[in-house]
Symmetry: C2
Subunit: 396 residues, 2 copies
């Protein structure tokens, strides 16, 4: 008598354009293995409240699975829930493992970023310590691309494609009038500059990342030099850009009453781009503006990278296969085999080596003046974004 | 001996995803007619400074013309220049007509919105009064869709497609957490709500247009009702939404010291969406956020409507044909023949009947409570946007 196996899957953290593609991969491999596939609603948190959905039944039609693959955001719902350690609160582990047993879970897959890998690490360790034979495997996703242990993360390529495309469109837009102007495009990424760096694919004049301390005077000097020889200066700015003393630029105005007086009502403007636009206007006396790419960076699926969606799907599948083969406390990762032609393979890494660490852009991939990126970085990003701008030569 | 004819063309006003498609249409028809095609750099203003480009030569390769068709923003550059009346300043007319004669222009095409049609009207009238046989024809473009005399304007369909797509993506994004939230998506259109109305294609809960006075209490009441039965409330807000006394919502906070005190630092927040998000948070006590779609609305070519690009191209061609046939002081317009199947034809209208008038959304196409649009409006917009969301059913 064969016993049906059961795969439990959840999504956690911020949504991306590719996280549902990983979910589709999990469902696809689960169905292929003849397993029951159960989804947690709103991650671990909803699951603790008993909220589940039968995914193999909901996606029995392959057309629905294709649609799920291309649907942005977290279809199961998400949560931002940091699992306490067992010593802080063991009861939550007892409740979770009771539920795992109740539904007969053989494998628990969690699709998410850093906190999700922390969840997998904790559940895996607790299970091992308490004789559970459930497998816990993490499937990475984050537009921030800041997870260690993997060449890059699903979600990043699509977000980067949106950012590069938007930077190109906004550059076209900024060039229309015959006047000097500086445009700051603010890009997500509080701690890592990977996403802001992807703007470099659209060839802006300056890119500012959190990894390179910002010298505001040097920046304005560079902008002034550029304005002397061209009309339009484009600057990609990570929301997490900081000055040498470690202060976030977006907090500079609020931090000091003097700044507020000097630049008017700036204290209430939160964005680094807005603040820089106001300062540049004040000091350089030219037209400036700031565009925040905002929420669309993580959900713009109509400009999703097919490479990204495909890798996200394959990592979901690899996660199920590994978990059902008994691997646990692991994260599915991508290893880059070559850049040209672009080729990756999936791998398994110890999730403990991933959780609670952040991978920033290496300083060697940032130009010496801290205001641009190197060809190495572009070569790294380009195949993930899967986008080559074809452009008319600009006039003049 | 045949004399080569000459078509002069300029672009004016804000850029759109389709204005270069009209330019491509002008070049294409000009080349077809064996004419020389000369482009004004930065509109009438750059042209007055003698800035021109030979377009038939620059676009001799049809592949470049195809690329131009899909390139967002104004490739020739633009200006915001309101031509004075001849009685205010005749010298500018003398300079312009001297230049027209100098290059041997037979036809002057101007691609733009309301101000551009005003320019065509003035130049046409001046030419007629002074015995010139140059033809002046306007080719409409504006994402605002607020020109009279035409069923709709090129640029609107693509901007509306971006808005509807973004509204759908942001709705997916807003649904991820298991909590009550209200998201305001702020959409361009200071005087006409056409663009904001297009958000209705993505089925938000509420749409607020400048044409329907906003009652803030009624809005918050409706939001509260919705929050009682669902988690996520989505509101599309035109930046030009006004209260019954005609005040712009985005100016409400700044207008009154009391508002500033009551809601903190609101005086410096310019957007209607931001202000409503702050008020809703204060009064309803739930999570709120505001997303400004910003510049991408007018330049996001990757989500351009093919119907829009195609109509923009045809209007450019029709403009050249009409002008070379001796028509003057006209605007090329679109007449809708039928909705299903969607069919339009080009027409010529007197540009004087267009200039300096604004076409808003008819009150009959706005729902009785002023917080949504009717099926008639959706039927009007749908074929222009050329976009049908295919979506998975949401869970719960």
């Amino acid at each position: 008598m064969s016993v049906e196996r059961c795969v439990l899957v959840g999504q956690s953290g911020g949504p991306t354009a590719a996280i549902n593609s990983s979910l589709a991969g999990v469902i696809s491999a689960g169905i292929e293995a003849g397993a029951r596939v159960v989804g947690m609603r709103y991650g671990i948190q909803g699951f603790l409240d008993g909220r589940m959905v039968e995914l193999d039944r909901a996606f029995a039609d392959p057309a629905d699975l294709d649609l799920l693959r291309e649907t942005p955001s977290s279809w199961l719902g998400s949560c931002r829930y940091k699992l306490p350690t067992p010593s802080e609160d063991e009861s939550v582990y007892q409740r979770l493992f009771d539920r795992f047993e109740e539904i007969g879970a053989d494998a628990v897959l969690y699709i998410g970023g850093n906190d999700s890998m922390d969840t997998i690490a904790k559940l895996g360790a607790y299970g091992r310590d308490h004789g559970s034979d459930i497998s816990f495997v993490g499937v990475p996703k984050t537009i921030d691309n800041d997870l260690v242990g993997t060449d890059h993360t699903p979600g990043y390529g699509s977000a980067a494609r949106f950012v590069a495309t938007a930077m190109r469109e906004i550059t076209c837009d900024a060039n229309v009038y015959d006047l000097k102007s500086v445009t700051f495009v603010e890009i997500m990424g509080r701690d890592a500059g990977w996403l802001a760096a992807s703007a470099a694919l659209a060839n802006p004049d300056i890119v500012l990342l959190p990894e390179a301390p910002l010298d505001v005077d040097a920046l304005l000097g560079r902008v002034a030099e550029l304005l002397a020889v061209k009309n339009t200066v484009m600057v990609g700015v990570s929301e997490g850009v900081r000055t040498a003393d470690g202060r976030l630029v977006c907090e500079l105005a609020a931090a000091s009453g003097a700044d507020v007086d000097e630049f008017g009502h700036l204290a209430t403007l939160s964005g680094a781009g807005r603040w820089l636009a106001a300062v540049a206007k004040e000091r350089l006396g030219c037209k400036t503006r700031s565009v925040e790419l905002s929420t669309l960076q993580r959900c713009a699926s109509y400009v999703a990278s097919e490479v990204d969606l495909s890798e996200a799907f394959e990592l979901g599948r690899a996660g199920v296969r590994a978990a059902l083969a008994g691997e646990t406390t692991k994260m599915c990762a991508l290893e880059r085999v070559s850049n040209d032609p672009y080729e990756v393979r999936t791998a398994l890494v110890d999730v403990l080596s991933v959780a609670n660490r952040v991978k920033g852009v290496p300083r060697a991939w940032i130009s010496a003046d801290g205001m641009g990126v190197t060809d190495e970085l572009l070569a790294y990003v380009r195949p993930l974004v899967d986008w080559i701008p074809i452009e008319l030569a600009a006039l003049d």
